[in-house]
């Protein structure tokens, strides 16, 4: 347990067990709230941190990810009714990315399910889900407990990450395939490692007891010094995840648990996550609505955009024509990609304009020393991910 010196009404945000270490390394004092914790947005510069992800090893404090322990005789049945994927295929030692929906087939959230043993799972999500998990558990013999504060987590991502973990004595970590997990010891500390991540690169996530957190951090930093290890904040990670084509709640979609306006909910089909929806596995919440939607055909689709120029198209409206007469969508996330040297965006585009290869026009505002200019930039709809190095799947990974 972490110790809190100040009560919640004076300091509403919790500190992760890595907070003291992070604070010591933070050069620009840039913190942001995330799921009730205060976390680092930028340690030094976004560029430095970004290149650690792609060309060395980055360490990112994942502790605020909300973690639930789901166990009991009906744990699998419960999860399979909750999630759109067929989790009967998920054996112990495996991890699956999935989404879950409300009755209308609108996305509530996404997350990863870790199968720890038969009928024992850990669910990791970006936001708290207890209300919906409890509603979904009615009629199932399953126990749901939030363990966020008991489990500290670090994402260790980058081409040298495997080598770094091996240097720490995690023998056999190189044999983990993507979406596999294993139990290891770091010195004497028990540690769970999964080959998962949010960067689309070679990388691992480390799960440990809160009490061990600082010792694991120190060991990583010490062993990683020669491999360019660097703690990173959310800003650098955001660029990497856009390159990898991953979605972020509240940016690329709003959870159906939060929407107030009518029509702002999104279905997994609209978000290009149809591959996660298994209509053949039996019933799950939202299945009938999604089936109807599939039969109707999607009204809009989240797509990747490759935009001319180098000015990131933040919040840009999209048009079918250069003159900007017919709006056909809007950008949800945008970044200049330092690795691919492309101007990338994720965007929600209305039917029928979302076909791969089609062109739309992005309305971009340029700030030239406080003189604002509007530019219509040609944007091509392209496949995601934008960047997918072969190393992300190589097993064993190359040694560095």
């Amino acid at each position: 347990m972490l110790t809190m010196s100040e009560p919640h009404f004076r300091q509403p945000l919790l500190k992760t067990p890595f907070h003291e270490r992070s604070r010591a390394l933070s050069q620009v004092d840039s913190f942001v709230p995330w799921s009730g914790y205060t976390t680092v947005d930028v340690f030094t510069t976004v560029e430095q941190e970004y290149f650690a992800i792609r060309n060395a090893t980055s360490v990112y404090d994942l502790t605020p990810m909300v973690k639930y322990r789901i166990a009991g005789p009906d744990a699998l049945r419960f999860l399979n009714r909750l999630m759109t994927r067929d989790l009967r295929k998920l054996a112990p030692g495996k991890v699956a990315y999935s989404v879950w929906c409300d009755d209308s087939g609108h996305l509530i959230d996404d997350g990863t399910v870790f199968c720890l043993a038969a009928n024992e799972y850990r669910l990791c999500t970006g936001e708290r889900q207890l209300d919906w998990l409890c509603a979904s558990s009615i009629g199932f013999d399953v126990e749901i407990a939030e363990v966020t504060e008991e489990v500290a987590a670090l994402a260790v991502q980058g081409p040298t990450s495997c080598a770094l973990l091996r240097a720490l004595g995690l023998d056999g970590v190189e044999r983990l395939k993507p979406f596999e997990l294993g139990q290891f010891e770091l010195a004497t500390l028990p540690i769970m490692v999964s080959r998962t991540g949010f960067t689309g690169d070679l990388g691992y996530e480390l799960w440990m007891r809160t009490a061990d957190a600082e010792r694991v951090w120190d060991a990583l930093m010490e062993a990683g010094r020669s491999r360019g290890v660097r703690p990173i904040g959310s800003r650098a990670l955001n660029i990497a995840r856009i390159e990898a084509g991953f979605l972020l709640p509240n940016l690329d979609f709003v959870s159906a648990s939060h929407t107030l306006r009518i029509g702002s909910e999104r279905s997994p089909l609209e978000l290009g996550l149809g591959w996660l929806v298994d209509f053949g596995k039996g019933h799950f919440t939202g299945r009938r609505a999604l089936l109807r939607e599939q039969q109707r055909g999607p009204e809009r689709l989240l797509v990747g955009l490759d935009i001319e120029g180098n000015k990131a198209a933040h919040n840009a409206l999209l048009y079918a024509d250069r003159a900007g007469r017919t709006q056909v969508g809007s950008v949800t996330s945008a970044a200049w990609s330092p690795t691919t040297k492309r101007n990338l965006a994720l965007a929600m585009v209305d039917a029928p304009h979302f076909a791969t290869g089609a062109t739309v026009w992005a309305e971009i505002y340029l700030n030239r020393e406080l003189v604002w200019q509007r530019r219509m930039a040609r944007a091509r709809i392209v496949e995601r991910p934008f960047y997918a190095p072969p190393r992300r799947r190589a097993t064993p990974p190359a040694d560095f």
Binding site: P7, H8, F9, R10, P12, D103, L130, E146, H258, T259
Partner: protein
């Protein structure tokens, strides 16, 4: 007052409550010559700041500023005329077992606070707030519209009904059902759909009974809850605030705005009768016999007082009068205003918690609120009343001398008619003692700090403010008295059954609370009738 005032006005507004003043402001801005007449020596109706004890200022009726429509604040330029609203920093409920629940203006602090009582409720709270916001989004556009008469075939009514139908239809199937259920549900049943912890439910339920002669288990109270949630301070749902200088600041700003538009205001001018000739309101006669003529007479008084006491019955259709008599206005609330020698200590609340700088409730459970209501039904004040108290002087030093504090204590339930006979000074005292004892259970030094306490039963509120039975909403907010039923079916459009006469009090849609919407809507109806509506937008 003003000797050079003309003898004839375009419009007379009877009663200088906030709704009367809002109506008067809009009429004056449209270029009418407007006279507002107030019975008391001070203006404000139930939105007043009064100096009743040595250096203290009491918001001695209404005590919270949240519902006042942003359109009105903006349209009448109230900040320019001195209105300052300071948001609450939180709120709390005190329990007899020494526990408490606080809500803070920070989402994470609130979640962690609720999770002390129930982890699950801490997260269900988000769903609750989301659904309240959804309902608010549906209802808010209705507030500043004139309700249509569903029995009418007039183009305007049909247009409004169609608008209402479309507005409802736009919700989509699932939310339409949610809305139907919400409008007919009891607050207790509603809260059961979200929360498991008694204290969380009790905290939320308080708003569903304030000013209402219903208990939290009565169907329809979910809507009353929302009525209190519709307030917002720049988008923060249910955010409540203090008006600097007390609630009189609201009506003072309105009066200043009114004066700037050229309006005339006379206090100590009780209207004895609204004059009628040939089915048309022609002016008013004051208690002294003075008669003042006007083309339009607008009454800010509640509908019973307006038509049963201020208009001679022969001018009104008997059936209308019968309906007025049937209009339910029930006194169910009391108020204490207390001058304190210092800030009372509440041991349940942790040192430094800002939740005292907001509304503090005293209750334990929904059952306790319901039993408090049972007492009211039996014609006695609640033995364990629901208390909503506030110490504005913590953030507004104008309310009390340095180091001393003013406490506003709203009490539910207190009946207008007692089962054991008339209200007497002794009974009023006993009522006050019940309330003070209840608070003292939560604050050991409270009684010793009391310098002065003004105890106000529904009777006192009626006698002083003129609200029938002391009902703070000028009529119950039940289905049968909302929208096109408010106040009287067929007369929900601010127009009295007399030419040139209008209603603008909280008896009309959308009801009470310091909202101002009835006044604004009434002014809209008058200006439309005078074909002056377009002048307002200028």
């Amino acid at each position: 007052m003003n000797a050079t005032a003309p003898e004839r006005y375009d419009a007379i507004v009877v009663g200088a409550g906030h709704n009367g003043l809002v109506a008067a402001c809009y009429l004056a801005r449209a270029g009418l010559g407007v006279l507002v007449l107030e019975r008391n020596a001070y203006i404000g109706g139930a939105a007043v700041s009064r100096k009743l004890y040595d250096g203290f200022t009491y918001s001695n009726c209404s005590y919270v500023c949240s519902l006042l429509r942003t359109e009105i604040i903006r349209g009448l330029d109230l900040p320019h005329y001195g209105l300052q609203i300071i948001p609450y920093e939180g709120g709390c409920t005190l329990m007899r077992n020494g526990e408490h629940l606080a809500l803070y203006d920070n989402h994470d602090a609130t979640r962690r606070e609720i999770s002390r009582h129930s982890r699950r409720d801490a997260e269900s709270y988000d769903r609750f707030v989301r659904d309240m916001l959804r309902h608010c989004r549906f209802i808010k556009p209705l507030l500043l519209r004139e309700p249509p008469d569903p029995t009418s075939f007039k183009p305007r009514d049909i247009k409004e009904l169609l608008w209402l139908g479309r507005h409802f239809h736009q919700l989509g199937e699932a939310r339409m059902y949610d809305t139907l259920r919400f409008w007919t549900q009891s607050c207790a049943d509603l809260l059961d759909e979200y929360f498991e912890s008694e204290i969380v439910k009790a905290h939320m339920a308080g708003s569903s009974i304030i000013g209402t002669a219903l208990g939290p288990r009565s169907p329809g109270t979910a809507y009353v809850l929302l009525h209190h949630y519709m307030g917002s301070i720049d988008g923060a749902v249910g955010a409540w605030g203090f008006a600097r200088g007390g609630m009189g600041a609201v009506t003072q700003a309105l009066a200043a705005s009114f004066a700037a538009s050229g309006g005339t205001l006379r206090s100590s001018a009780p209207v004895e009768e609204i004059l009628v000739r040939g089915g048309r309101a022609t002016g008013v006669r004051l208690a002294g016999g003075e008669e003042i003529r006007a083309g339009v007479v607008v009454s800010n008084l509640d509908v019973r007082r307006t038509f049963l006491e201020t208009v001679a019955p022969q001018h009104l259709p008997p059936e209308f009068l019968a309906q007025v008599r049937r209009f339910k206005i029930r006194g169910s609330s009391g108020k204490l205003n207390i001058a304190l020698d210092g800030l009372p200590h509440f041991p349940a609340i942790p040192q430094g918690s800002p939740c005292t700088r907001g509304d503090m409730h005293v209750t334990d459970t929904i059952d306790m609120l319901e039993r408090a209501y049972d007492d009211w039904k039996e014609g006695r004040w609640s033995r364990a009343p629901y208390i909503d108290m506030l110490i504005p002087s913590q953030i507004d030093p104008t309310m009390a001398p340095n180091g001393k504090h003013y406490m506003s204590v709203f009490v539910q339930y207190c009946p207008y008619k007692l089962a054991d006979g008339e209200w007497t000074a002794a009974k009023r005292q006993a009522f006050g003692d019940t309330v003070i004892d209840t608070i003292a259970q939560h604050s050991p030094d409270f009684k010793d700090l009391i310098l002065h306490a003004e105890v106000r039963t529904p009777h006192d509120i009626e006698a002083e403010v003129g609200l029938t039975e002391g009902n703070i909403f000028q009529g119950e907010l039940t289905f049968d008295q909302l929208l096109f039923n408010r106040p009287i079916p067929g007369y929900a459009q601010y127009r009295a059954p007399l030419h040139g006469m209008y209603m603008c009090g909280a008896s009309t849609h959308p009801g009470g609370g310091v909202m101002g919407a009835p006044g604004a809507n009434a002014a809209g109806a008058i200006l439309r009738d005078l074909r002056l509506a377009q002048r307002l937008t200028a």
